[in-house]
Symmetry: C2
Subunit: 153 residues, 2 copies
């Protein structure tokens, strides 16, 4: 955590140049968001890298590691490490894929679904607080625009 006067904020005097650069603003906003949600993540036994994988598995069903990585834009090497940890926590299991012996079929466990649900519940008001400077319509367009950018056909 940063030693701000108030706890979680950058500044009033931030330079103009930065405030024109989308890539800079995105980085700052993402960092702020992370700070807003970090506590909840930890409280619940979740890590940043866990969330995407668990959510992906919960929706797409059992998947190979490579597939999960492709879906999330995560490198295969990193998937190995993340899944090691997730397996260590009992949130997923790796089972041999009978149809292709190169693959692991990664499956989310009950307790995996449980942390996922707990986190989803815990995060709601943090997100709201984070976007508190926007009204409802603006939040919607903001999320929609983000989706357009990350979707990228």
């Amino acid at each position: 955590m940063i030693h701000h006067d108030d706890g979680c904020r950058p500044a009033e005097g931030a330079p103009r140049r930065l405030y024109d650069k989308a890539f800079w603003l995105l980085g700052r906003a993402a960092l702020d968001a992370q700070r807003f949600t970090a506590d909840r993540l930890a409280e619940v036994g979740m890590r940043r890298g866990f969330y995407g994988v668990l959510a992906s598995l919960a929706e797409a069903g059992p998947s190979s590691q490579a597939d999960i990585g492709r879906r999330l834009g995560v490198d295969r090497s990193d998937m190995v490490a993340i899944l090691n940890d997730l397996e260590g926590e009992g949130y997923v299991t790796r089972e041999p894929d009978p149809t292709d012996r190169r693959r692991n079929s990664v499956v989310i466990t009950r307790s995996g679904k449980s942390v996922l649900a707990r986190f989803d519940r815990a995060i709601a008001d943090a997100e709201k607080a984070f976007l508190s400077t926007l009204d409802t319509r603006e939040r919607k367009t903001f999320v929609a625009l983000l989706r357009r950018i990350t979707d990228k056909s």
Copy 2:
């Protein structure tokens, strides 16, 4: 760089749940943006952490390390490291502040201003490509919303 079919993209089948979470979308978008700009950063002799500091110094003038950190939301410890590197590259100098002997007065050098300008020039089309799925109006509102979020009164 990630081994995508196309080079820089997540997926078409990304799970719904994630696509509702602002904090997740922000993280992904910021990462994508970083990937888009990483080459330009390196080409020019710039690092991610350098940009904010140099831009801040260019606009606010000589500052103490603590002030820079407060403006950018960067921890004081990290400022030390970043400034060590910036000084090593000859982009800034640390001079003793005569009015307060605890402080360093950090000053951007000519070559510091030079990389800053070079990067600003190099970044323009990368940002445009990154936001290619949005039209001009949408880009403006997107940047405006980001600014509102990061400004946060």
